[in-house]
């Protein structure tokens, strides 16, 4: 009888050890195993996957040279001081002021700009308050000429310590942000802000802007017509 008991205990301990072995394999550092790999793993190369075929073994690569994102329009002002000055004087916002464009601009501004420039554009964003970034100027700074074209140009290429935001936003979004920035500047300086046009005005204006834009910007035209 005693022998039987010993056997039982032995078996039990073996199963326990086996169970512990399986459980202890589940670590946070490795993904869990799967039922049917063929259905989990894609046939094509997975986004952010690894494969020998790519240089560096990574699926994530820079786009081939010369490739153009959908809806991209050439931007002719060069990334120089002269280019910035030219953009400040010549480049105008082709986007019609609508409620949607202002709301979208404000939303995007909050995401991308407000951490440094502050919700009001006074240069007192959270990163400035926490002294991670210093010396962010207010949009109302008298020493600076801030125009539509300048704001767009700086978003496109960045300036000094500010980086380029061209990879995070598209052309339309940059112009929407520009509208919001110009409104913030006007508010800070106590000037009248841009208000959305009335509906019948929009129809008239659309005809005008459509022809104005045809040379510079096609994608915006389409967006404008939706409203």
């Amino acid at each position: 009888m005693k022998i039987i008991n010993m056997n039982k205990i032995l078996k039990l301990s073996f199963t326990l050890i086996g169970f512990l072995a399986v459980v202890s394999c589940a670590s946070d550092g490795k993904p869990n195993y799967q039922y049917m790999n063929n259905m989990y793993e894609p046939v094509g190369y997975e986004t952010y996957g690894e494969a020998d075929i790519f240089p560096g073994g990574q699926e994530a690569m820079l786009p081939a040279e010369g490739s153009i994102p959908r809806g991209w329009q050439p931007y002719d002002y060069p990334n120089t001081t002269d280019g910035l000055n030219l953009a400040k004087t010549d480049l105008k916002n082709p986007l019609l002021v609508t409620e949607e464009s202002l709301a979208e601009g404000a939303k995007l501004y909050t995401i991308y700009c407000a951490v440094c420039h502050g919700d009001k554009g006074d240069g007192k964003g959270i990163l400035v308050q926490r002294e991670k970034f210093l010396g962010i100027p207010s949009y109302a700074d008298p020493g600076r000429v801030i125009t539509d074209g300048g704001v767009y140009h700086v978003q496109m290429y960045g300036i000094n310590s500010m980086g380029s935001y061209a990879s995070q936003t598209n052309e339309l979004e940059r112009w929407q942000i520009t509208q919001h920035v110009m409104n913030l500047k006007a508010t800070l300086k106590g000037e009248p802000i841009m208000k959305p046009a009335k509906v019948d005005e929009i129809d008239n204006a659309l005809m005008m802007t459509a022809s104005d834009l045809s040379e510079t910007n096609h994608s915006l035209e389409v967006v404008g017509q939706k409203h």
Binding site: G29, Y48, A60, R144, Q168
Partner: protein, 444 residues
């Protein structure tokens, strides 16, 4: 175990003491200034003689200059400590007020400085008076304050010390318990020995049926036990099979230690700032390194508090991690330019749906307006990113059943929304009622 709430006190105290000293030193300086002023009887323009107030200068410097200049390190512009000794005061006034005019006037020194700094144009500051500039220059002329590092080392020692003491206490306790057990066994043995020596007879116990045998003979008990055992086994088997393929809690080690706690939590940077493609694409992309460099071009080192916190609480040297980023993106700190030699960072992807399930971020983030935290959990508190949700089908479906769809301002679909609401007899339709449970929505 490692929770030690008061280890920071020495460091905080020392910082306070330092601040205390500095406060007094500035007032002394200010007094010296006012003494100067009184001596020279130059009312209203105390700084006209070129002596400024460094405290005022610091705030002016931070507000106007710090975007491009650091004191000891080249940034967009050159390092400014000791600049007042390098150049003539009058020349500096002219340069700061309008550097471009100075360059245009053909000033050789101005052109030299301009050329030496990649011809980046310095902002003009016509609003700054000579007195303001004197204050700024007084600040830049201050000696570098060498912060004594032992506070951090002391903290490490303190925290590890308490950890050791905890372990010692635990070890001692276990030792005591073991001793007790051994003693008990020994005592019972000696007692038995004494008893037998004294002639006490324990007597043989009457041998009844062993419990094991009686158990086997009792058919009912056997059946109940078998059923119970099977049920328990089934329960654990079910649990085991259900977690296969579920990666909840998966927190791999990333090639560069990136703290969401600092970026999204303390600094309140919007998730969409870095994961900008979540707004308009199927994937919420891992940001490319140029996005990191938007800020880290300027932030080459974390603050001392953050660094100490990283070392003590998380065992991470944040400054080293930033250096890893610079290496990968090919950024040369000394020249403040890209070397062109970059290498890929092999981030480990955490959230990964199986290929047979379709999920679109923009649909949920932009159209649905769902907060990132709903699925990804409190990312802003995570030092190490981990998968928060199970990402199973049941989990998806559950949310679709519970979530009302915001249909306001969507005139194009107004009729169908009304018809659906009427059909289900509800005020607001859920995602499920709009077809969010159909197989083909996610599996095709």
């Amino acid at each position: 175990m490692q929770k030690v709430n008061f280890t920071k006190i020495p460091s905080i105290l020392s910082v306070l003491a330092l601040a205390f000293m500095l406060t007094f030193s500035t007032t002394i300086q200010a007094q010296a200034d006012s003494a100067n002023e009184a001596a020279q009887t130059e009312a209203a323009t105390p700084a006209a003689d070129g002596v400024g107030d460094p405290a005022v200068g610091k705030s002016l410097f931070n507000a106007n200059c710090a975007a491009c200049h650091k004191l000891d390190k080249k940034a967009t512009g050159p390092a400014l400590r000791g600049v007042a000794q390098k150049y003539d005061r009058e020349w500096l006034y002219a340069w700061i007020k309008d550097s471009q005019a100075l360059i245009a006037s053909g000033d050789a020194q101005a052109i030299e400085v301009f050329e030496a700094n990649n011809k980046s144009v310095m902002q003009s500051f016509p609003a700054l008076s000579n007195g303001d500039i004197d204050n700024i220059l007084a600040y830049t002329s201050e000696e570098k304050v060498v912060v004594v590092p032992p506070t951090g080392a002391g903290e490490i020692a303190a925290s590890s010390g308490s950890g050791v003491s905890n372990n010692i206490i635990l070890g001692a306790l276990t030792g005591v318990f073991l001793l007790l057990i051994v003693m008990l066994v020994l005592v019972s043995k000696t007692l038995k020995k004494i008893a037998t020596a004294n002639g006490v007879d324990y007597g043989e116990k009457p041998k009844g049926t062993p419990i094991w045998k009686s158990f086997v003979e009792n058919q009912f008990l056997l059946l109940v036990t078998a059923v119970l055992l099977l049920l328990t086994a089934a329960y654990f088997m079910y649990g085991f099979f259900m977690q296969v393929g579920v990666d909840q809690g998966y927190a791999p080690v990333q090639p560069i230690h990136y703290s969401h706690r600092i970026h999204a939590g303390a600094n309140e940077i919007d998730c969409n700032y870095c994961h900008s493609s979540a707004r308009k694409s199927k994937h919420s992309g891992i940001p490319s390194l140029n996005v990191c460099m938007n800020c880290h071009k300027n932030i080459a080192e974390v603050s001392e508090d953050t660094q100490a916190e990283g070392l003590n609480e998380y065992g991470v040297d944040y400054n080293k991690e930033i250096k890893k980023l610079y290496k990968a993106v090919g950024w040369d700190e000394t020249t403040q330019g890209y070397t062109g030699e970059s290498e890929p960072v092999k981030w480990v992807r955490i959230h990964n749906l199986p290929d047979f399930a379709y999920f679109n971020h923009s649909q949920h983030v932009t159209v649905g307006g769902i907060a990132c935290q709903k699925c990804h959990g409190p990312v802003e508190e995570m030092e190490i990113m981990e998968q928060f949700s199970p990402l199973t089908m049941g989990w998806c479906i559950n949310c679709h059943r519970e979530t009302n769809v915001n249909v306001s301002g969507n005139e194009y679909y107004e009729q169908i929304h009304e018809a659906l609401a009427k059909k289900y007899g509800v005020e607001q339709v859920t995602a499920a009622q709009m077809g969010g449970l159909e197989c083909g929505k996610c599996h095709y």
